[in-house]
Amino acid sequence: MIQLYNVFKTYGGNIPALVDVSLVIREGAFVFVTGPSGAGKTTLLKILFRWENFDSGQVLVNGMNIGKIKERNLYLLRRTIGVVFQDYKLLPHRTVFENIALVQQVVGASYRALKARTWEALKSVGLSHKKDAYPLQLSGGEQQRVAIARALVNSPKILLADEPTGNLDPEIAHDIVKLFERANEQGMTVVFATHNHELIRKTNYPYIALNRGNIVRA
């Protein structure tokens, strides 16, 4: 469950990024966040895992008032959230397997669990045959699938995706959405930011539209 009440966020003190945003995303929902560039989609997503702080308002994620979490305890929130980025954010000097395993390593998984879960995540995105490849040896779609596997490997409650299909062909984008749908079917709440209206129209999920930091449709 994600709840935002009267959230304001500005950059540099005077450039508004979010203006009085209030919304509720139920547990297990699949929601698109849409709007033109600079609408506040990325800012909204970054606030949900406290990568960005907000100026005022209340944000509750999985029952945690995230504005009140101390810096040193933020890892507890972030371990319940998987994030996928438009630019994949894969580490180029690590193999596909190591990129995914990193998340398991960070949470202190045993080597056996790390291996099993990473393998499972790789299989779920159909890339088990590429486990020893380096990100730059993969196509854009494959890199994004690795990023999704990395976001899924810790079985988070919430999956945040910031324009995950932004750099991909429509067909590959469709496959990527399918992966998110599968995660959603397993009970994960999915918040999918995109400016691709075609994608929203085809899939028929509810969407939140932002424009210049304001919610124009929820």
Partner: protein
């Protein structure tokens, strides 16, 4: 427990990778640390040896109480009783004017022509007082000398107070100098290590940010960098110990005789094991502090978004 060992293994691997990928910068840092600690270490060697010389010389210090020529037998006996009664005194020996003159003549026999021409004995009688070997022996001699100075029959006192005082002052100065130079070098090294770690941090910025995003604790992020700083400082300090040992051996081989003569038989010493250990621990602390400064700054800059 297994988890901690596993995490440590991961951190050590990361540290090693960091050192490898920043090879050039790490090399410069280690070399700088080695030079700085060598300077400090060489001063320490000088200090250790001077301190040993001082201790050796102090052990040989004795109090000589020169008596007035007109001292009565009673006064002399009473003075001897006072000296022998001091619990710190080990032995007291009376040297008559005649014995002193004979000793003097035998010591300066080369000048016998001049000595023969002297018709009078200019030397006074004296008590040679040996003190027990205690840590504050010189101070005790000093205190006792002051109490004796005004006793009847005492002409003057001699225990080398002037040169001991000067040497002690010089040692205090050297101690302060060592502390100051150690402090300044330490501070400088903290900044140098801090800068190296900063470079290491920026080269891995994406990875660190990613780890924070997926739920890494601050401890998990910090540990490899703290280890990196400590490793650089420790390697530098170990090299410096080698350099100091080399210089020490060279000096010993070249100037052994001269140094033994100055030290009255004592050899040219190297720093003790505990001092080497202290040097290594200090370097590790400096490395830790430098890394801590950078990583904290770096994490704060990420948090202030």
């Amino acid at each position: 427990m297994i988890q901690t060992v596993r995490n440590l293994a991961v951190h050590f691997r990361t540290t090693l990778n960091n050192l490898k990928s920043n090879r050039q910068v790490s090399f410069v840092t280690i070399a700088t640390i080695a030079i700085a600690f060598s300077i400090l270490g060489l001063f320490l060697v000088v200090f250790v040896n001077l301190d040993t010389f001082l201790t050796t010389w102090s052990r040989e210090v004795q109090l000589v109480v020169y008596l007035e020529d007109a001292i009565s037998g009673k006064e002399r006996e009473s003075l001897e009783r006072v000296i022998a009664g001091n619990p710190e005194v080990e032995s007291v020996a009376f040297v008559s004017r005649e014995t002193a003159w004979e000793n003097f003549k035998s010591t300066f026999s080369a000048k016998s022509e001049f000595l023969k021409s002297l018709e009078i004995n200019p030397l006074p009688a004296s008590f040679n007082v040996q003190f027990k070997q205690t840590r504050d022996r010189v101070e005790k001699i000093r205190q006792f000398a002051e109490t004796l100075r005004k006793s009847p029959g005492v002409e003057s006192l001699e225990y080398g107070e002037k040169w001991i005082g000067r040497f002690e002052k010089f040692m205090i100065f050297l101690k302060v100098f060592l502390l100051a130079i150690g402090g300044l070098l330490g501070l400088g090294l903290i900044f140098i290590i801090s800068n190296t770690i900063k470079l290491s941090l920026y080269s891995r910025q994406d990875e660190i940010e990613l780890m924070l995003m997926v739920g890494a604790t601050h401890g998990y992020i910090k540990t490899p960098f703290l280890l990196e700083g400590m490793a650089q400082a420790l390697i530098g300090a170990l090299i410096s110990v080698g350099v100091i040992k080399f210089v020490h051996l060279h000096m010993k081989l070249q100037f052994q005789d001269t140094l033994e003569a100055i030290a009255r038989g004592g050899g040219f010493l190297f720093v003790s094991f505990s001092q080497v250990l202290f040097l290594l621990l200090a370097s590790a602390a400096v490395g830790w502090a430098g890394s801590y400064l950078s990583i904290n700054q770096f994490l704060n800059s990420i948090q202030k978004r």
